[in-house]
């Protein structure tokens, strides 16, 4: 209706839920042509889901998207591409084993003459796009996989502008880049902005956002809290908007940790983790916070024997452990409830009983024979104890809700009565009611003397649930605070590796 296009992309009332849990609830996002627009929020705020909807990977349950006032059909990535919305993901952005030129023209019609690829024309087109980005020095005949990370990013950007992208979405584009390379990328993005391309920029690095972006939309819990001019706000204000209010009422009362040390970690290093040292008392709940990729999960995996350490030691009950497998760690009383429920926690195609049994085969077998009756009683006990809502132990786990699947994972490991229980994102993607039950369960185990370590991306969860919190930044422990009365903004500054003020 309007003759002037004020917004190149308008998303209205975008709603998406998975299994009854809202990932996005009535999200509005409007992007103007020729602006760099930041999309901010904590992990789990719904940014990735929103991007996947904008790019056609998911279709929303409700809401509409218009690109240049034309409604966009939700018919997969191809349709979004045609409409001019192109996303660059960190890792998937190039095909490493074909030439730069082919990467740039990938998905377009290859220029051809008489059915043969017209290499000359192909390279000319590719070179033209790179020159548009001032990147004419990148050799178009080279295998894309042999370029430096920033050059690969440039190639991906060149491809996006080759298809005349109107909206370019960049998800953490600077994660693998050096400071110098970041500046190169920013120059390119600014020149695209000058050409009128709209850029949606997703990053955890707030300093970059403040350097580069014009406006910012901040999300929390699947909703948009605000859209603001970057010039009108401050980093601290953005952080407190991202964090929001507390949810104290979800959490059980804290307990009193017992005497002594249940588990101690000294100088532990792995691929990401560098020189981590801390200890946990019996009955204590230790929270570990940090951004995605800060090494939290790796730290847990090393302690649980799922990944090798390069140095350092782990002491359980005063005895040094040298376990190198999960089985050995379990035998020492260390259990890890893994991060990805669906790919690491449960076999979706098997029953509740089978899933719980596989972690407890020694306990329910004799001479290699598994007694069906013992699977049944083990599973029935777990179902009753953890209040797993199901039709019985024979129900297939894939049919349960996310929260109940997570309870099955917990049941599998709790049946071994671990002395040290490690939980990686134990409440990700489950509803509030079940979350609260799981918090209660964790605290109950602690009261019985279990040492618990919880990794979570949600700071309010750590503050409400833990006794003590350590924060990680780029593999190192960057801070430690008592959970009681901890301040989210302070924790977040540790997560971002900024010195505490």
């Amino acid at each position: 209706m309007t003759t002037t296009i004020q917004h190149v992309l308008e998303a209205e009332g975008i709603t998406k839920h998975f299994d009854g849990v809202f990932a996005l609830d009535g999200v509005d996002l409007r992007i103007r042509p020729g602006e760099i627009h930041a999309l901010l929020g904590e992990n789990g705020a719904g940014k990735s889901t929103l991007i996947k909807i904008l790019t056609g990977v998911y279709s929303p349950d409700a809401g509409s998207i218009r690109v240049e006032a034309q409604p966009m059909a939700f018919k997969g990535v191809g349709a979004a591409h045609k409409a001019g919305v192109v996303a660059l993901y960190q890792e998937l952005s190039i095909v490493p084993n074909v030439s730069v030129a082919e990467n740039i023209v990938l998905g377009d019609e290859l220029p051809s003459r008489g059915g043969l690829v017209d290499w000359k024309e192909l390279r000319r087109v590719a070179r033209k796009q790179l020159e548009r980005l001032n990147q004419g020095h990148i050799p178009v005949h080279r295998m894309a996989g042999r370029l430096t990370p920033v050059q690969q990013t440039m190639v991906a950007v060149a491809r996006a502008i080759a298809v005349e992208a109107k909206v370019l979405i960049l998800d953490e584009p600077t994660a693998a880049l050096t400071d110098h390379e970041i500046q190169d990328l920013f120059r390119v993005l600014r020149s695209l902005r000058a050409e009128g391309v709209a850029i949606l920029y997703v990053s955890h690095r707030l300093e970059e956002v403040f350097e580069l972006c014009d406006r910012a939309t901040i999300m929390r819990n699947g909703t948009v809290i605000t859209t603001t001019e970057v010039a009108d706000t401050t980093i601290d204000e953005v952080i407190s908007t991202m964090v929001g209010r507390r949810q104290d009422e979800l959490f059980p009362a804290r307990g009193v940790p017992g005497p002594g040390t249940a588990v101690e970690v000294a100088g532990l290093s792995g691929r990401r983790v560098k020189d981590a040292s801390f200890s946990v008392r019996p009955g204590e709940v230790l929270g570990i916070g940090g951004l995605a990729g800060s090494g939290r999960s790796e730290l847990l995996r090393i302690i649980a024997g799922a990944q090798r350490s390069s140095s350092g030691r782990i002491v359980v009950d005063g005895q040094e452990c040298s376990h190198r497998t999960v089985a050995a760690a379990l035998d020492r009383g260390i259990a890890l409830v893994p991060e990805e429920r669906r790919s690491q926690g449960v076999v979706l195609s098997q029953s509740i009983g089978e899933n719980i049994a596989v972690g407890n085969l020694k306990a329910i077998s004799k001479w290699g024979l598994v007694a069906g009756s013992r699977i049944r009683s083990l599973a029935s006990n777990s179902i009753a104890e953890l209040q797993i809502k199901s039709r019985g132990h024979q129900q297939i786990v894939g049919q349960l809700s996310g929260g109940n699947q997570q309870k099955v994972v917990l049941a599998k490991y709790l049946a071994r009565n671990p002395k040290v229980l490690l939980l990686d994102e134990p409440t990700r993607g489950i509803d509030v009611g079940t979350k609260s039950e799981i918090y209660g369960l964790i605290r109950r185990l602690a009261t019985q003397g279990t040492a618990v370590i919880v990794v979570s991306s949600e700071l309010p969860e750590l503050i409400g649930l833990a006794d003590r919190i350590i924060l990680m930044h780029e593999g190192r422990i960057s801070g430690e605070v008592p959970a009681e009365g901890a301040d989210e903004e302070q924790l977040l500054t540790y997560c971002y590796g900024r010195a505490a003020s």
Partner: protein, 343 residues
Amino acid sequence: MNTAQKTQAENKAAAPPLPGNVSAPAGKRPYASALGPIKSGGTIIGFALLVAAFGLMRPDVFLTFGNLRNVLEQVAILAIIAAVQTVVMVVGNFDLSVGATASVSGAVVAQLLIAGQGTAVAVAGALVVGALVGAVNGYLTAYLKLSAFVATLATMTSVSGLAFITTDGTTLFGLPQGFMSLGQGRWLGLPIPIFMAAAVALVVWFVLRNTTIGRRWHAVGGNAEVAKLSGVNVNRVRFLAFVVAGVGAALAGVVLTSRLASATATSGDSYMLLAIAAVFLGMTISKEGTANIGGTLIGVGILGVLSNGLNIIGVSTYVQQFLTGIIIIAAVAFSRLGNKGVS
């Protein structure tokens, strides 16, 4: 490392780590479950229709006791190989070398007998050969992380060469009468191989269902990463599955040699593809689409009845082969159709 990581990566690709992203959205379930019963029963119904059709066409021949006994006798060796292939496929791999292993074991048992060894020693020797081939497959796949396709394709080729070396490219015959009763003898009026196939199937069924190794096989096949994080030694579990397949294939080779009263370098080769086809047919019976021994036996039955029935109504073997392929495609495609809503 690769296999486990690959499984994990595939799982991640299928299920991005998003809040509450849990299998099929509620709205899609009814579609899947509406087709579910038809789908899971489809293969069995197909089997019944096949039997009925041949029975109607040639009631005088097909549905006689003698002919049904023939069918069972013909499929007994395939059933043994398919049963152990089921184990490997439960673990999420497959073994292309089972046919060649059967051939080489059949040749080994024949050579040992010709060399004057007793039946027990000769059979044991053949089974050891099978176990060794299985161990090589298992080592390559589980520990060196080669893809099962590459590893077992390579061992199939080499083992086939060994079979030619063992037989020197000739047909081995002149085996002692005592050994021949293994494949040609009867008990309660039925050929011994039928009982052997039944015993193997029963053991595989029991082991898969009621033993710790069976539960571990299922867990590794369901999701290797979950199994690893539950304390399962994924490599060893995979390794053992291949050893079982090797021993089973060797047993089939021994029975085959006994039944034919001779051995060649390629006697068992054709069983490989048929065994995999039988397991695939059987997978369509399970609601979750996993390999299962009951389904495998039905798959074996379909292949056996098809071949026997088409013979009786006088269809040439060339056309038979063509039809067999079509039927496998139809069964598997039909089951995927029903699965669409879930995956």
